[in-house]
């Protein structure tokens, strides 16, 4: 018997944008729905393919190497109207690492080339002199709730936010968007961009359920409730990451 509720995920460029274990985020979406007797239906979009407008509740774009990211940037703009429209009607979207850079207006690479982005998040990114690498812990505030979110960052881009989106959270430990150690990520409507990987969602189930809740709401309205899960292992790994960030070996 197939499940009553199904979230339709559009996974953008999984072959090229997968460098920081992005498939872990997808596994979390699938498994956390399965534990609630719900399904995840995945559509993968590759180079030259067009996203079907209005057919997805959740969108995901991960991180890639510079060369692959450049290929994707050129290809992705063909889908920007579809993704913009989805953002406006409340579909959930998650952009990680290279993803947050492509979700903004533009990305200027180390050699000065400017790549146009989707323009869904009001932000711009410029390559810096050195990579920002290490544990990253933030206090994320979404819809009035603040939660500690843990992960790892590894990016050369310096991201600056415009007035129409707010940071995902305040940096507790690490570099964050521009290396200044103040703010991390961006959020607009149900669209989240972040440099946090590790991957992001396994150790931060709150964020996973937030995105899944938005996706279900997009498809079914407010009626579908996600039953709480125990998340014992998640909490232990979350704590280990916090301890790791505080202890410099």
């Amino acid at each position: 018997m197939s499940a009553i509720h199904t979230v339709r995920l559009c996974h953008m460029y999984p072959q090229l944008m997968n460098i920081y274990a992005d498939r872990g985020n997808i596994a979390v979406f699938r498994q956390r729905l399965a534990w609630r007797d719900m399904d995840l239906e995945i559509t993968e979009i590759g180079l030259g393919e067009v996203i079907d407008p209005g057919q997805h509740d959740l969108y995901y774009l991960g991180g890639g190497q510079d060369r692959d990211q450049n290929l994707v940037a050129k290809d992705l703009v063909a889908n920007s109207a579809t993704l913009q429209a989805a953002a406006n009607v409340g579909a959930a979207q998650l952009y990680v690492c290279g993803g947050i850079q492509l979700a903004g207006h533009s990305y200027v690479t180390a050699d000065g080339t400017e790549l146009a982005g989707l323009g869904i998040l009001d932000l711009t990114t410029e390559a810096g002199q050195n990579r920002l690498v290490g544990d990253l812990i933030i206090d994320a505030t979404v819809e009035g709730t603040t939660q500690r979110v843990v992960g790892y960052e590894n990016h050369i881009g310096r991201t600056r936010l415009g007035p129409s989106c707010v940071p995902l959270g305040k940096v507790v430990s690490g570099y964050g968007n521009d290396g200044g150690g103040r703010y991390e990520g961006a959020i607009f409507n149900h669209v989240i961009g972040t440099y946090l990987h590790g991957p992001l969602l396994p150790k931060n189930p709150w964020l996973a359920d937030l995105l899944l809740g938005w996706a279900l709401e997009h498809r079914y309205g407010q009626d579908v409730v996600l039953r709480p899960l125990e998340d014992t292992v998640e909490a232990r790994a979350h704590d280990a990451a916090i301890a790791r960030a505080g202890v410099k070996r």
Binding site: L16, Y20, A21, A27, D66, K203, V233, A237, R244
Partner: protein, 417 residues
Amino acid sequence: MLVSATNGKTTTTRLLAAATRAAGYHLTTNAEGSNLERGIATALLKGDKGADLGLFEVDEAALASIAASTRPQVVVLMNLFRDQLDRYGELETLVDKWRDVLDDLEARSEPPTFVLNADDPNIAALGRGRPNVVWFGVDDASQAIGDREHAADATMCRDCGAPLDHRVVLVGHLGHWDCPNCDLTRPTPNVSATKIDLSPQGQKMTLQYPTPAGPPTELTISSPLPGLHNSYNVVAAFAASWALADRTERPQEAHAVARVMAKTKPAFGRGEVIEVDDKRIQLLLAKNPTGVNQNVRTILRSPGKLHVLVLLNDRTADGQDVSWIWDVDWEPLDSRLASLTLGGDRAWDLALRFQYGGFDMDKVKVSPDPAKALDIALAATVAGHTLCALSTYTAMLDLRWVLTQRGYTPAYWSPDA
């Protein structure tokens, strides 16, 4: 001779050390030592002044500086896989750096012979059009694994950017490939393994190699090193011995090389087996997704139910970013497991990986403390059986320390280790 790669440099250097010693060379080498500048400097300072060959395993990020300060005669480059992104950065950047190294070496008054892996598209692109290349590869398509692994990196043509066509996938992105869009294609290997027979105890292979005047000839090599990744190490070492003999006109009988290789056992943590009372522990170093995928395949080749211990640390030598465990294809283990024990500083990250991979978590025990994890894993292992212990570098040192304290194995740095 310099040997570099993401995976296999220690084992290949070890094989080459045995082969060149058998050929009568007097070596200075860092086999099983540090492969950064300081390790090579130490080996040179400590080495015998009468040595007539330097053989060095070189960290892939240190190749440029070490090549710049040495005059290598043979340079063996085997593969580049994604590995410790927090330390090495992106693979593409490393490939670009290696291209500069090869350009520099080729421009010298006495350029080296390059011994290159035809099956790695990135390495093939680096060697294309250069004189003095000996290509090696695996020509046994029956060892193919189907699709490219999730962790495969070199999926696009380095010259034109088109998606590569992989006819045969052997290890990660190593295999038989072509660019459908430009003329970049897998070079025909000069030295290749044409028939490989893998077993839990090691392998046998038929090697084809050139002869000075006539057609290529064949010989059979057996090796106690398990897995197809080790087939590449054996072929690389054989090709490098051949290249050295060819270059120095100091001939070495191929069968003599085969004989010493047959006796060369796994290096530290690369499949070595330690007896623990009525059980055995096989130590498998876990460094990066492609390497662990190979270890998983090696484990699966053992018959019956499996006992597995995985230890994950996140210290500098392990890579501080543990996200790579999500790129490993652990899933084939699930149906074969009798017990799975997880340990190390980031044991709970491993637990999440297996939980979200859909494993039966009733079979899984977690204890970050390596000694306790070892106790749990050994208690779960049936007498007469082998516990397969996969662990990151510093966790492997921890595990060896516990085993040494208990008198099961000498300290790893002692000469008879």
